[in-house]
């Protein structure tokens, strides 16, 4: 149960990080969103066997981590949370795709290459998404989405889901606390109580959500989630996006590690 409360506190860490005032944090949220979207598009566009070409894309997260002064550990931990799904998707590749592939002097199955590329791609994309939230914050991100003319119903859905997760988790924590105090010798929740606990949870969450919604309506909420005025886009914000977009385009078109490699071997020869 302590774990749930901890994760509740941890969940908000991205919001806390987003309140810093570094070069990256001060950038316009729309430009950061566009940069991330172009990064994701380019990374996903690589073929199954192209691991080498992906390597230059490590520069982007490394740069953002450094410039935004973000702690690496909490963000890496969040990537680990999704890793079981990614491994689940990729782990069968080595068995199905057994064609040999020459790596230096060793022959390995091509399945391992695709597995590695899935791992790398998902690692990069999840990191980029987390970095976007940790440097922008959910509210400003929603503002950026609205600026991109994403329908407000979707943006609202996103924001409210994000808000209600904590409501749900608080209720879970309370129910589990009440349960564990009266069932001291049990590990976890006995299956006979699963049904009623889940039922309780959903009813309580409904109630709570209803009260929060009423409180919002009483303060003039009419379907639009206003997160304050938008900053103007400065030349520096625009150049941040253009700079990265150019880099992504170049790194997509030319295999930079290969070029550097051939350059060095050329010099040696």
């Amino acid at each position: 149960m302590a774990n749930i409360m901890n994760s509740l506190y941890n969940m908000r860490i991205l919001d806390d990080l987003a309140r810093q005032e570094t070069v990256i944090h001060k950038l316009h949220s729309l430009m950061k969103l566009l940069t991330t979207v172009s990064y994701l598009t380019v990374v996903v566009s690589f073929g199954r066997y192209e691991i080498g070409g992906l390597l230059p894309f490590l520069i982007y997260p490394v740069m953002v981590f450094t410039l935004a002064e973000l702690p690496v550990k909490p963000i890496l931990l969040r990537i680990l949370i999704v890793s079981p799904f990614i491994i689940g998707i990729g782990i069968l590749n080595p068995f199905f795709d057994q064609q040999g592939y020459l790596l230096g002097e060793r022959v390995i199955s091509r399945g391992w290459i695709t597995f590695g590329s899935i791992l790398l791609k998902s690692g990069l994309t999840v990191t980029a998404a987390l970095l976007l939230i940790a440097t922008t914050g959910m509210d400003r991100l929603a503002g950026a989405l609205r600026m991109m003319k994403i329908p407000r119903i979707f943006v609202l859905q996103l924001l409210l889901t994000y808000r209600y997760i904590s409501v749900l988790m608080e209720e879970v924590a309370r129910i589990l606390r009440a349960y564990s105090l009266r069932a001291p010798n049990q590990k976890g929740v006995h299956r006979s109580a699963w049904g009623s606990l889940a039922g309780q949870l959903i009813l309580r969450t409904f109630d709570r959500a209803q009260r929060i919604y009423e409180a919002m309506c009483l303060r003039g909420f009419a379907g639009e989630y206003n997160t304050g005025g938008f900053k103007e886009i400065r030349a520096w914000d625009l150049s941040y996006f253009i700079g990265w977009a150019l880099f992504f385009a170049v790194a997509r078109m030319y295999n930079i590690p290969m070029l550097i490699g051939s350059l060095i071997t050329g010099v040696i020869k």
Partner: protein, 252 residues
């Protein structure tokens, strides 16, 4: 200043399960009054507040704020002049920072961001938590949360403040602070509470509710000392007016 008047005429409300929560209530609250609404659990206090705020609508009768009837159409206007502080501040505070929470109302009324900032800082200063403006609401203490919830309503510049149990779950010192704060406001105040000592100190007028009906409506100092009435309504006279527990001296 008739627009601060709040009038309730022959109000009836039944829940979908046919439970009659409010049965024919009528009263009028004038500008600048502090009115306490008291009653046992389930007497209909919270339902009455919800009816006043237009969260639910009466099956019969009407609520008027100033000269405007509370209907779906007039809600935006009504809610501008009526500010409600919830019993549980956690229901009211849901944004990332205290600042954003207090700004939520003004921003919904499409105020200029400069005006929003002015109002937010003003409200936070009024309740004495300006230094907490960048903190996450869920990390505040009970008293601080209550203050933030009050600020989030004050920033909308309401004419009438409606408060559901403003001193519930507060330690004695925080309770005193909140009471002092509320006394310092010139708004018309409607307060429901089981904290009868607080009602005794803060409200000039008290409405006692019993089983969905008004059992008494009058001057607080007369109603709260009426032990018979209080007992019949499932209440007691305020602790501060009861006999001294040590020497048994009679106070009333």
């Amino acid at each position: 200043m008739s627009h601060h008047k709040l009038e309730v005429k022959d109000l009836h409300y039944s829940y979908p399960d046919d439970h009659k929560a409010v049965k024919g209530m009528s009263f009028c609250i004038y500008h600048g009054e502090s009115v306490g609404i008291i009653g046992a659990n389930g007497a209909g206090k919270s339902t009455l507040l919800m009816l006043l705020m237009g969260v639910i609508f009466p099956s019969q009768g009407e609520v008027c704020v100033g000269d405007v009837h509370v209907t779906k159409k007039t809600l935006p206007m009504i809610r501008k002049s009526l500010g409600m502080v919830f019993q549980d501040p956690d229901d009211q505070l849901f944004m990332n920072t205290v600042y954003d929470d207090v700004a939520f109302g003004p921003r919904n009324y499409k105020l200029d961001e400069k005006e929003v900032e002015k109002r937010v800082l003003n409200a936070l200063e009024l309740v004495g938590i300006l230094h907490l403006k960048d903190r996450a609401p869920f990390k505040l203490s009970g008293g601080e949360k209550r203050a933030a919830a009050i600020a989030s309503v004050l920033s909308m510049h309401p004419d009438i403040l409606v408060m559901d149990e403003p001193t519930a779950a507060l330690d004695p010192k925080s309770r005193r602070k909140v009471m002092k704060l509320l006394t310092s406001f010139n708004h018309t105040k409607i307060i429901t509470s089981h904290d009868l000592d607080m009602i005794f100190e803060m409200c000039d007028r008290t409405i006692v509710i019993k089983n969905g009906e008004i059992a008494a409506d009058g001057v607080t100092s007369e109603i709260l000392v009426n032990a018979e009435l209080m007992d019949a309504c499932g209440l007691e006279i305020p602790l501060s007016l009861q006999n001294c527990p040590v020497c048994r001296t009679k106070k009333v």
